[in-house]
Symmetry: D2
Subunit: 292 residues, 4 copies
């Protein structure tokens, strides 16, 4: 559902052990303080007895000042129910870093979504281990950091990258077909904040050369998967997937060509969901609220 941006909204994401009265308690907190709920989605994992909720409300007539809402929610509710929670405000524009290698299709997609104003996001920088896509960055006026990586220099380079990201106060990272494997240490700095696109329908064909493997196996459908980077390669929480039908007529180059369009669209949807604060992660699975 398209949250209207005119007045600022608060967005609260909550997960906690399930028990009676959670929805009442949270909505009452908002209601009694003058908040108008414009979007609420709740999910209970019955098997694990875990409660998840995303609720958005207008701040216009809300009696608690914006900067105090977190504190009040924590003391009055969150601590009592052992909640994990995050609070966002619709007016805050997050900072996104793009990592890219040689392939440009995902990069073009992200930059056009940004430049056209479709996404409310800042892109302070692009980082690449190749110079191939530098002209695109320049064309779109985004600083481009060329940081070639070798096995020997990897750890040092990652430190350098982390410092750059810190300097630019980057909120999250998008791996736009970035062909380097990030270290566990690096990922730990951005937990569930690094969005990757893998060019297969995971868990089929993880790792290198998925189109070649798909061709070899003779699948009739290929896909793309966007997920948060995790320690194990291509095994992080899946945000979004999509597929497209192929046939014996398609050689490997065809699969790559056909797949590219889906890679960029699937990545783009995942970034959009992340920007809308619609994703909660629980035990390597995502709860994607109000998916559409």
């Amino acid at each position: 559902m398209g949250i209207k941006m005119k007045s600022q909204n608060a967005i609260l994401l909550v997960s906690c052990p399930d028990q009676k009265g959670l929805v009442t308690t949270i909505t009452e907190f908002i209601f009694k303080n003058g908040g108008n709920i414009i979007d609420l989605d709740q999910h209970t994992d019955l098997a694990q007895q875990v409660f998840f909720m995303r609720v958005a409300w207008e701040l216009k007539e809300f009696s608690i000042p914006k900067e105090k809402i977190g504190e009040f929610f924590k003391v009055l509710i969150a601590d009592r129910f052992q909640m994990k929670w995050k609070l966002y405000f619709s007016g805050e524009i997050p900072k996104m870093a793009i990592f890219v290698s040689k392939y440009s299709h995902c990069l073009y997609e992200l930059l056009s979504k940004w430049q056209s104003g479709e996404w409310k996001v800042d892109i302070p920088l692009i980082i690449s281990n190749h110079e191939t896509t530098k002209p695109i960055a320049q064309q779109y006026g985004i600083p481009y950091y060329y940081l070639p990586v070798t096995l020997e220099t990897k750890i040092d380079k990652e430190k350098e990258v982390l410092e750059i990201l810190k300097k630019f106060k980057i909120d999250f990272i998008v791996l736009a077909r970035y062909m380097q494997i990030l270290s566990q240490n690096f990922i730990a700095h951005y937990p569930n904040k690094i969005i990757n696109i893998h060019h297969s329908f995971l868990p089929a064909f993880p790792g290198a050369k998925p189109y070649e493997k798909a061709y070899e196996r003779g699948v009739k459908i290929i896909g793309a998967t966007s997920h948060y980077a995790a320690d194990e390669l291509d095994a992080g929480p899946i945000i979004e997937q999509d597929v497209v039908r192929v046939s014996h007529k398609n050689d490997i180059e065809d699969l790559k060509r056909i797949g590219r369009d889906f890679e960029k669209i699937v990545l783009s949807r995942a970034v959009w969901l992340h920007l809308q604060r619609k994703i909660l992660v629980h035990q390597n699975r995502t709860i994607v609220f109000n998916y559409s």
Copy 2:
């Protein structure tokens, strides 16, 4: 989400003008009377300012007796907020009538879902304007009413059918490729309780011969649409749709063959949603809760 059937649950469907505190008010009613909410989905139509909600809770420890819940909800809440509402109980098995003509694929689908126990539904009778599918009904042990219809006899036949349906206390009707147009009077007896399958992606190709029209137009995708019957032909609230890719290689017979599988699946999903009480109708559009 699969509601567990072990203990009985109440299912409440509500729509009303939007205002603050609706979720709180309803969940509090359940919570304070000892109900454990196992499924809640809420939707607000911001443009029209209408609130929709489906909530299911366990009756096990609920302090209001089952047969009194409706009354209490009405007096304490529904009247106050001008709510339209319906209350169902998971243990009540609805009675479904099937109307069919010559094509058998949807009939087979419905009967197998019933016989295998996948659906909790009774099928007291099948009504047809042809005798073609009678052996199938017999094979599955369902009474079959052969009621041929002509323009002259239509009104009388409909009366006869209505009496039969009344006698068997039919809750809802499934038109399994029933090729007769029902009168407005007939439909008025079962508002949003007659599920039809139309063999096109509505609103494309309403009325007769949609596959012929689809071929003629040269579409690259065909579809099927399940909707509640309404006064205007093929214009009732859409419950479910699906599509499948076709090509210039497919002649009209191909489209029919390929389409049949989707007709039955789309109809089958619509019936399942209806049985789960997951559908609300508002101004010719459906709100389908927890769609999956």
Copy 3:
């Protein structure tokens, strides 16, 4: 394309090393003998330099008698070009055996496609390691062989089954969610003639409990795969696949329920393609001609 059945047609499937003039040579053979080609599809695997072709022609005015066509084609063309080839006639109705365990949805699908006359196929028998689905077989009037299998009796049972299949002159076998693994010896008797349905999007989640694994992994799309049985489990040539979107709201039971409809449809499409003689197998990949 729907081959019209009125007059009998010949269907020729060919594969051979690629070289110039193959299409000309074959179509000339048909053309010069008075055959009218009603369907021709050709594919060249450029990487492997292999030529594949399916051609159907009317026998009405064909000058070579039906029973001599194979011999003439072999001597005049096939041997010269090292062709592998098969010749079928549209009027010959193949005999299909169904193997089933406890789940009935695929069985219902196959039986309804047969009984309604949609498929031109004979089903002389159903074989099962359980008695659960026996009433369905009886209802449809198909002999049902209950042959329970244990690890100890497996080899003997397979021999028994092979004898039964031989006695009934079975042409091909459909595993309609048959939960026993067939031996390599058994499979060798029916190369590319045993059609299996696996309840996942292969190669994701082969083996047991794919829906449980899909839930665990948190995929956003589930699927079904029909393939010819091969020595390695769930690794045979894929005939057809399809997928359906799911969400975090769906528990394992939901995945099973949603998936069932796709299992039966995907299996059903694969059987239809097999019946139409539209499938060639080459190095564990299928060439599916005129797919629609």
Copy 4:
């Protein structure tokens, strides 16, 4: 199938009244002159008795000089069989004009496919009735013609545009969400050479505001359609369509956002097919060869 571009290939598109021996005649022409067929697809419309064929062959050892092939084919074959035919060469890079209004997503898509080298196409100019997208054209270095249109100036403007197109030797036009209706006269200058994208699943919701209409009707799936412009609005031969699932949760803005990604992908696929010379038009339907 990805035609390898290393050596030049000829691509021949043929349609004619069906009769025996057409495939033989054409392939023999290629074969006997030393051509190696690398791709052949044939389709016969049995209902209308029309034969369609696309065949590509390597020119490397072909004995007829490239510039003489058309003449020889005409005299030796085409005239004899009343063929409509077109001959293309893989090395010839067509010139594409883009028409655009305010929406930029399709424009970005086309420009990125061109700039990245994915498409072998020249884009000599962009024409627009607004200045909104001018900075994008400049960024990509493409001349931008701002030609505002009013009802009064329309005919004159179209003349001006036609002259510009002629001057630049434009081969085909892509309407990248161009919101002006072209005159029949204009379209007549580029028959089946103007590719439009309509933001609905045609023939549902032709004309203005399809997303608004889709929302109003409550469809569960929305789509996009790429077609050649024809005299009747949104009624030309369909090249490609795709769809995406939506729900009651999606308001009109959501439909637009979700739809945009499919508009650009569907348009992009249609342009690719056009560039590959894979499309034949017959009586307002397209034959799309080797679709993948």
